[in-house]
Amino acid sequence: MNDGVFTELLDLACGAFLLAAVAVLWLRQLTSIVRAFALQGVALAAVAALLGLREGRGELLAVAAGIGLLRAGALPHLMRRALAAGAPGGDGRYQEDVSEARETRPLVNVAASLLSAALLTFLAYAVARPLVALDPTPVTRALPVALAVVLIGFFTLVTRRRALAQIVGFLLLDNGITATAFLAASGVPPIVELGVSFDVLLAVLVLGILTTRMRAAFGGTGIDDLRELRDR
C-alpha cells in the first residue's frame, strides 16, 4: 500500500468516524442513533486495521478485529435488545406514547447541537495544533478528529435526556479516547485495550439493566427523573 492510498483511506475512515458522531447528535430515533454508533465502530476498526497493515503489526490487526466485533457488533446488539424490551407491546404493558423510542426534547435542540459540534471540532483542531506540529505525519494530522469525537461524546452526555442516548454518549467518549490512542501512539498494548473493552462491555450491560429498571420504576428513561443525588 503506497502512501497516497494509505492517507486517502485513513482520511476516509476518520471522516466516517467524525460523521457518525455528528449523526448521533442529528438523529432523533434511538434505533437510528444505535445504527450510527455501529457505523462509528466500523470506522474505528478500519482505522486500527489500516495502521496495522501500514506498520505490519499483527497484534494491531487482532485488536482491530476485536474492536469491530465489540463496538460494531456486541454493543449495538445489547442496546437494541434494551430498546426492544421497552418497545410498545414488547412486555405487554400499555405505553403512553412512542416517545420512549425517540429523543424528543433534548436540552439543546438539534440545530444548535450541530452548530456546537462544529465549534467543538474547531476547538479540537486548535488544541491539537501543537501536538500535530511535533510530528506532522498523515496519522497525527487526523488526531483532532479523535479529540473532536471525545468532545462531542461529552456534549451528548450533557444534553440528551434518554438513558440510551446517554449510553451512546458515553461510548462516543470512549471511542474518541481509543482513536486518540491509535492516532497519537499507534494504540495501547493489547492487554490494556482488552481491559478497557471489557470495562466498556460491563458498563453497557449495567446501564442496560439500569434502563430496564428505570422503565419499571418510572415508566420512562428520562434521567431527569433521577434527582436523589443532591445536598439536602
Partner: protein, 677 residues
C-alpha cells in the same frame, strides 16, 4: 557528641517510647509509663536548652527522614531559651499529669489516644525551636497543632462545649498554618532555598514589597498562635475545655512559640522588618494585653480567666518584641536588646507561673468538679497546698514585688523609658502609650488575681462540692512543687539568667554588647546605671512583714478580747450566699469599663397570677460578651454560612447539571490552552 545533640536524640527516643506506651499498654500501667517518658523528654529538652544558653551550638541534617528535603535541626541560644522553657514546663506538668490522669475512666484524659498524643505534643513543643528548615519547621508546627487538637478534645464525650472549642481551635490554627505556609513559601522562593541558612543569606535580596508581605503574613500567623487580638477567640475556648495538664502545656509552652516565631523569622532570618510592621506588632500586643486582662477581670470561670490572662501576658511580650524591632529599625541597638531581653524574661516568667496556675486550677477542678469561681470558696482550709501554690503563682502574675512577673515587667518599662531617647514621632507617641498600657494591665491583673485567689480559696464554701473538697494526691503536688520552686527561684535570683538571656538576644543580631549581666544576687542592666536585687528586696519585705505581725501580736495582748455576736439587722446569721462572689467583686470594674465592655443584661419579672403588684420571681441575667468576637466573627461566620447555603444551589440533583459542570470546565480549560499558546 555535643550535649545538646545527645539530649535532642534522647528526647526523640523517649517521645517514641512514650507514644508506644500510651498506645499499647493496658489500663493502670499506661499513665505512669507515659508520664515518666514525657518527664524524661522534658528533662532532655531542659538540658539541651540549658547547654545552648550556656553557649553550645549544635546542628544536624538527616537526609533520610522526610526524603525530598531531609530534616534540618539547629540549636542556638535563641532556640535554647525556648527549648529550656518548654522542657522545664513539660517536666513539671508530666509529673503533675501522672497524678492528674491516674484513676480516671477509660475515656478522656487517661485513654489510649490521648496518652499516645501527649508525648508527641511534648516533643514538638521542645523541637519546634530547633527546626532549621522551612519543611522541618512546618512539619513540627503542624504535628504540634494536630496533637494538641487531639488533647483538647480529650473530654469531648457528652460535652458540646468541648466540641465547639475543638472546632474553633482547629479552624483558627489551620488558618494560621495557611498564613505561615504562604509566608514561608514566599520567603523561600525569594531567597532561593528552604534551609534557614539559605533564607538568612537570601533575605537581603528580597524586594521591600516582598519583605513587607512576608513580615505581615508571618506576624499574623504567629500572632494567632500566641492568641493575639483579633485572632484570639480559640484561646479562651480551647484552654478551659482541655484537661488541665494540657491547658498548662498549651498556655505555658505552646503560645510562647508564637513569640519565638516572630523573633526568629523577623530578626534572625529576615534581618529586621519594616518600621510600620513593628508598630503593628507593638500595637497588637498592647491591644491584646488590655483586652485580655479586661476579659479576665470579667470572667468567673477560673480556667477561662487564666486563658485570658495568657492573652494579656503574651501581649506584653509582643510589646517588648515590637519595641525592640522599632528601636533596631531606628538604629538604636542598646534599648532594642534590652526590650528583647525583657520580653524573653517575661516569656520565662509567664511560662512558669501560668503552668502552676493551670495546674492548681486543675487540682481544684479534680477535687470539686468546679471551674466556676462563684461556687467555690473555702478551699484554703480544705486544700492548703494547692491554695499555697496558687498564691505563689498569683503573686508572680500580678507584677508586684516580690513576684517573678514584677522583674520582667520592670525591665520592660525600663527599656521603653530608655527608648524615649530614640528620636522620631512614632516613638514619642507610641512609647508613652505603651507604658500606660503596661501600667493599666498590671493594675487590672492585681484585681484579677485578688479575685481568683480571694474569692476562690478564702471565705466560706458557696456550694456543697466546694465544701466536700479534699487535697490532691502527692504526684500532682510534686509537679506543682517543681513549678513553685521555679517561680520562687525566678523571683529571688533572676540574675542567674542574665548571661543566657544576653546570648539569646545576641542571635537577633542587634550588635552593641550584652544588655544584661547578673550574678546570684543582682540583675544589672548594662549601659544603664540600674540594677535590681530582688533577694534583698524580698528579704526586706519579709522582715517588714514579720515585724508588723509581731507588733500586732504585741499590741493585741494589751487589750482584752471579748466574743460577741455580730449585729445582723435582725435578718439572722449571714449565710455563704451573702459573701462576695467573683461576679460581685468584678462589678465595680465592669462599671468603670462599661463603655468598652458593653455588657448585655436583661431583667425578667414574673408577677403572681392573682396580682400584678406581687412578684413571684425576678430573674436577672448579665453577660459580658467578647465585643471583638461579636463584631468581627459573628458577621463573618454568618456570611460564610450564607455562602455555604447558596452553594447548595449548585447541586440540585440533576445529572445533566453535574455532567455540564465537567463539560464546561473541560471546554474552558481547552479554550484557555488554545488561546494562550
Amino acid at each position: 557528641m555535643n550535649p545538646a545533640g545527645t539530649a535532642v536524640a534522647l528526647a526523640a527516643g523517649l517521645a517514641a517510647a512514650g507514644a508506644a506506651a500510651g498506645a499499647l499498654l493496658p489500663g493502670r500501667a499506661r499513665v505512669p509509663a507515659v508520664g515518666l517518658c514525657t518527664a524524661g523528654l522534658g528533662t532532655a529538652g531542659l538540658v539541651a536548652g540549658a547547654a545552648a544558653l550556656d553557649g553550645a551550638r549544635w546542628s544536624a541534617r538527616l537526609p533520610g527522614l522526610l526524603p525530598p528535603a531531609g530534616v534540618h535541626l539547629a540549636v542556638d541560644a535563641l532556640s535554647g531559651l525556648f527549648m529550656a522553657v518548654a522542657g522545664a514546663v513539660v517536666l513539671a506538668v508530666a509529673v503533675y499529669g501522672i497524678g492528674y490522669a491516674a484513676g480516671r475512666g477509660p475515656h478522656g484524659v487517661a485513654s489510649r489516644g490521648v496518652q499516645a498524643a501527649l508525648p508527641v505534643f511534648a516533643l514538638t513543643l521542645v523541637l519546634v525551636p530547633a527546626a532549621a528548615s522551612v519543611s522541618t519547621f512546618l512539619l513540627l508546627w503542624e504535628t504540634m497543632a494536630l496533637t494538641s487538637l487531639v488533647l483538647v478534645l480529650a473530654e469531648q464525650r457528652g460535652r458540646a462545649s468541648v466540641r465547639e472549642a475543638g472546632v474553633w481551635y482547629a479552624v483558627m490554627t489551620q488558618l494560621g498554618f495557611v498564613l505561615l505556609l504562604a509566608g514561608l513559601a514566599l520567603f523561600a522562593a525569594g531567597a532561593g532555598g528552604e534551609t534557614f541558612t539559605a533564607l538568612r543569606a537570601g533575605a537581603p535580596a528580597l524586594s521591600p514589597a516582598a519583605r513587607g508581605t512576608v513580615f505581615v503574613l508571618m506576624a499574623a500567623a504567629f500572632a494567632s498562635k500566641a492568641g493575639m487580638v483579633p485572632l484570639h477567640p480559640w484561646l479562651p475556648r480551647a484552654h478551659p475545655e482541655a484537661p488541665s495538664n494540657v491547658s498548662a502545656l498549651m498556655s505555658a509552652a505552646m503560645v510562647n512559640l508564637g513569640a519565638y516565631g516572630i523573633v526568629r523569622v523577623a530578626f534572625d532570618l529576615l534581618g529586621g522588618g519594616p518600621r510600620w510592621g513593628w508598630l503593628l506588632v507593638l500595637g497588637t500586643g498592647a491591644l491584646s494585653a488590655v483586652h485580655g486582662i479586661l476579659q479576665a477581670a470579667m470572667a468567673s470561670d477560673l480556667k477561662r480567666l487564666l486563658a485570658h490572662s495568657t492573652s494579656e501576658n503574651l501581649g506584653l511580650v509582643l510589646v517588648g518584641v515590637g519595641a525592640a524591632g522599632l528601636f533596631a529599625s531606628a538604629g538604636h541597638p542598646l534599648p532594642a536588646a534590652l526590650a528583647l531581653a525583657a520580653a524573653f524574661l517575661h516569656v520565662v516568667n509567664h511560662a512558669v507561673f501560668k503552668a502552676l496556675l493551670f495546674c492548681a486550677a486543675g487540682s481544684v477542678a479534680r477535687a470539686t468538679g468546679l471551674r466556676d469561681l462563684d461556687r467555690m470558696g473555702g478551699l484554703r482550709a480544705r486544700m492548703p497546698a494547692t491554695a499555697g501554690f496558687f498564691a505563689v503563682a498569683a503573686l508572680g502574675a500580678v507584677a508586684l514585688p516580690p513576684g517573678n512577673g514584677f522583674i520582667s515587667e520592670w525591665l520592660l518599662l525600663q527599656s521603653l523609658i530608655e527608648g524615649l531617647t530614640v528620636p522620631g514621632l512614632s516613638t514619642a507617641v507610641v512609647l508613652p502609650l505603651a507604658v500606660a498600657v503596661i501600667a493599666l494591665s498590671a493594675g487590672l491583673s492585681a484585681a484579677v488575681f485578688v479575685k481568683a485567689l480571694g474569692v476562690g480559696f478564702f471565705a466560706r464554701p458557696r456550694s456543697e462540692r466546694a465544701a466536700a473538697a479534699t487535697e490532691s494526691p502527692p504526684g500532682m503536688l510534686a509537679g506543682m512543687g517543681l513549678l513553685g520552686l521555679g517561680c520562687t527561684g525566678l523571683a529571688l535570683v533572676p540574675g542567674m539568667l542574665g548571661d543566657g538571656l544576653s546570648r539569646a538576644v545576641a542571635v537577633a543580631g542587634f550588635g552593641g554588647g550584652p544588655p544584661l549581666a547578673g550574678d546570684g544576687l543582682e540583675l544589672r542592666l548594662e549601659h544603664l546605671a540600674a540594677s535590681l536585687s530582688p533577694l534583698w528586696a524580698a528579704g526586706a519585705l519579709t522582715a517588714g512583714l514579720l515585724a508588723a505581725l509581731a507588733l500586732v501580736r504585741v499590741t493585741a495582748r494589751r487589750g482584752r478580747r471579748s466574743h460577741v455576736k455580730l449585729w445582723d439587722c435582725g435578718g439572722g446569721a449571714p449565710t455563704a450566699r451573702m459573701s462576695y462572689t467573683a461576679t460581685s467583686f468584678a462589678e465595680p470594674l465592669q462599671r468603670v469599663f462599661d463603655d468598652v465592655l458593653a455588657p448585655e443584661q436583661d431583667v425578667d419579672v414574673t408577677p403572681v397570677r392573682a396580682s400584678t403588684y406581687l412578684v413571684e420571681r425576678v430573674r436577672f441575667r448579665r453577660r459580658v460578651p467578647d465585643r471583638i468576637e461579636h463584631r468581627l466573627y459573628r458577621p463573618l461566620i454568618a456570611a460564610v454560612d450564607r455562602l455555604g447555603e447558596a452553594a447548595r444551589g449548585l447541586a440540585p440533583g440533576s445529572a445533566h447539571r453535574y455532567l455540564g459542570y465537567g463539560f464546561c470546565g473541560l471546554v474552558a480549560l481547552l479554550l484557555t490552552l488554545a488561546v494562550s499558546r
